[in-house]
Symmetry: C2
Subunit: 350 residues, 2 copies
């Protein structure tokens, strides 16, 4: 059981350090090895996804990632930007299924910008396709045509790409409240007309799951209006990028939300849903809980260790119940702690 | 001063009828003529944007549209769906600049799913490019390749397309709080890298406007987290479709929000931001205020009649202050009225 650890940039090293401590405390005999991704990798090697990282990531059963990116690398040529590393590893490892839960912890209900009654008990799972769509489509670029610059990108999906992510979403819905909402823009985009067609074709294989469809503009509205109407949502890479971030923010506590990106054999890359927060990097104040909860997802999906996953999730609930909060989720009446103290508390609660 | 009236489908005929009464009451000697668009046009002619409508719309100085679409036409071939009529008229008239205000009326603050302090006083203007992007890009389609179906679409923008919408947005910001946020996905899409480059190139011409940039996923989050940080937002057709609907829903009263779609000479199509609401069509209960406020936008942008526009907007504020509400914005303690009564009240308040 080999885990590749990619601390990444910004607060990445601090939050992965706590998650690694949690992994170690489980006594499950993981072999862990660290490598570089993103800006840290560019600085060291000139490549955001260097060969050594590629080798390690391919050999490992699972990857734990902190976060990548920061203003320091924003002016580099496209191929050297930290995000390229992230897109590179997703594609290289075939991590087509991105699972992003948006869960509101009762203790953190105040953090939401939405009214309590609108979000209380919120528990949505967004299933985003992660290795196709306009993210990777060719042709693409910026060229001069008819004397002016012309930028172009290509959105595309094959029916087998849609079918495999559809199956992941149906299976996930089956284990939850059995409602799946597929999001597309079929009234404008042929690619997503095919998306809808394939989802409809899959449905008879999952008679216990209720499939519905929603246009992406309406989905963006419904998430604001009445997010609890959703159980599992499935959509393409581009729409998923937007909707999963919108859904996370409904909770107001994005520092609590993990994510998993899986291949066809449940090998996965696990990372917090939040970014690298360069503004608070190195200060020891970042919230490590999303990364720790990403470890729980890793145990569940890649290592089939449901009870260890629950142990971690319960430990996190316990520290919340104890009133411990990092700065991002702090409110008067609770106890403000730093990254390491929060890690200590989770370890103690384990 | 010629206005083409397109009642459209669902509640369209009911709400445009009230808006037409308001136009008549202004005594500005408009010539008005009605035509078919969307499902109504398909039923009558087989074409969602028939030749007769095209002729009238081209000759007119402005177009007032109710709404198009409904389940009745959802199973027709793509070319016959009501949305094709809408996309067709936008492209045909060159209506590249879509202006969508998201304004929270103080009397309706409760309607929002967000906390009052997060949305009180909200006043955002979204400027969406409307005739380019993946909406109209070629090649596109669904084909069989390597033995399976393959769906594809093309996103593209030329620098001149970006520049002209950029100018509209900078000008709009100049008349408001002088802050413009341009939304893109430059870290993934070359098309939107060009978008950002062109916005940056335009900025020196508008030294009084503060330009910022935001990635679309972050914008979807920030609209939920702290929407009042925005003044004017500008973005492409696809992202604008999603973000403008999300922003409207922040108010919780989308039945109040008008929109304008302008060409290079301020000829415009004006329509409510909400849809055709087939479920309540024909019952006389739809909210006509967004359509009436669309008339105000028409007077302001196409006919340069600022005082008449303000007269209408003040009349609408007055009926809200009087406590009159259609079902969509009703709450206990206010007076529920139907479409026509609401129209009567606005006319009286004029
Ligand atoms: C950093 C960026 C390339 C990435 C994406 O767009 O996929 C990020 O926004 C995410 O959602 O993981
Ligand atoms: C009906 C549809 C084609 C249209 C669009 O996507 O532009 C609508 O959603 C809108 O925003 O006006």
């Amino acid at each position: 059981m080999k885990i590749c650890i990619l601390p990444g940039d910004g607060i990445g090293p601090e939050i992965t350090a706590e998650a690694v401590r949690v992994l170690e405390a489980l006594d499950l005999k993981f072999e862990m090895e660290e490598a570089l991704l993103g800006g840290a990798a560019v600085d060291a090697t000139g490549d955001p996804y260097p060969e050594a990282t590629r080798k390690l990531a391919r050999e490992a059963d699972a990857v734990l990632l902190g976060a990548v990116g920061g203003p320091k690398w924003d002016t580099l040529p496209r191929e050297q930007r930290p995000e390229r590393g992230l897109l590179g590893i997703r594609k290289d490892l075939g991590l087509f299924a991105n699972l992003r839960p948006a869960i509101l912890y009762p203790e953190l209900a105040n953090a939401s910008s939405l009214k309590p009654e609108v979000v209380a008990g919120l528990d949505i799972l967004i299933v985003r396709e992660l290795t196709g769509d306009i993210y990777f489509g060719q042709p693409r670029g910026i060229e001069v045509r008819d004397g002016e610059r012309f930028g172009f990108n290509t959105m595309h999906y094959t029916e087998s790409e849609i079918r495999r992510i559809g199956r992941v979403a149906f299976e996930a819905a089956r284990k939850r409240n059995k409602r799946l909402c597929s999001v597309d823009k079929m009234n404008v985009l042929e690619t997503t007309q095919l998306w809808r067609d394939v989802m409809i074709e899959l449905a008879p294989e999952y008679p216990d799951v209720e499939l519905s469809h929603m246009l992406v503009d309406n989905a963006a509205m419904q998430l604001v209006r009445a997010p609890k109407q959703f159980d599992v949502m499935v959509t393409g890479n581009m729409f998923g990028d937007i909707l999963s971030d919108e859904a996370s923010m409904l909770t107001g506590s994005i520092g609590m939300l993990p994510s998993a990106s899986l291949d066809a054999n449940n090998k996965g890359l696990y990372e917090p849903s939040h970014g690298s927060a360069p503004d608070i990097a190195g200060q020891g104040i970042a919230n490590p809980l999303a990364t720790i909860l990403s470890v729980a997802m890793m145990l569940r999906y890649t290592f089939n260790q449901e009870s260890a996953a629950l142990r971690i999730e319960n430990a996190v609930k316990k520290v919340l119940a104890q009133g411990l909060r990092t700065g991002d989720i702090f409110e008067p009446g609770t106890t403000k702690v730093g990254t390491k103290q929060m890690g200590d508390a989770v370890l103690a609660a384990l």
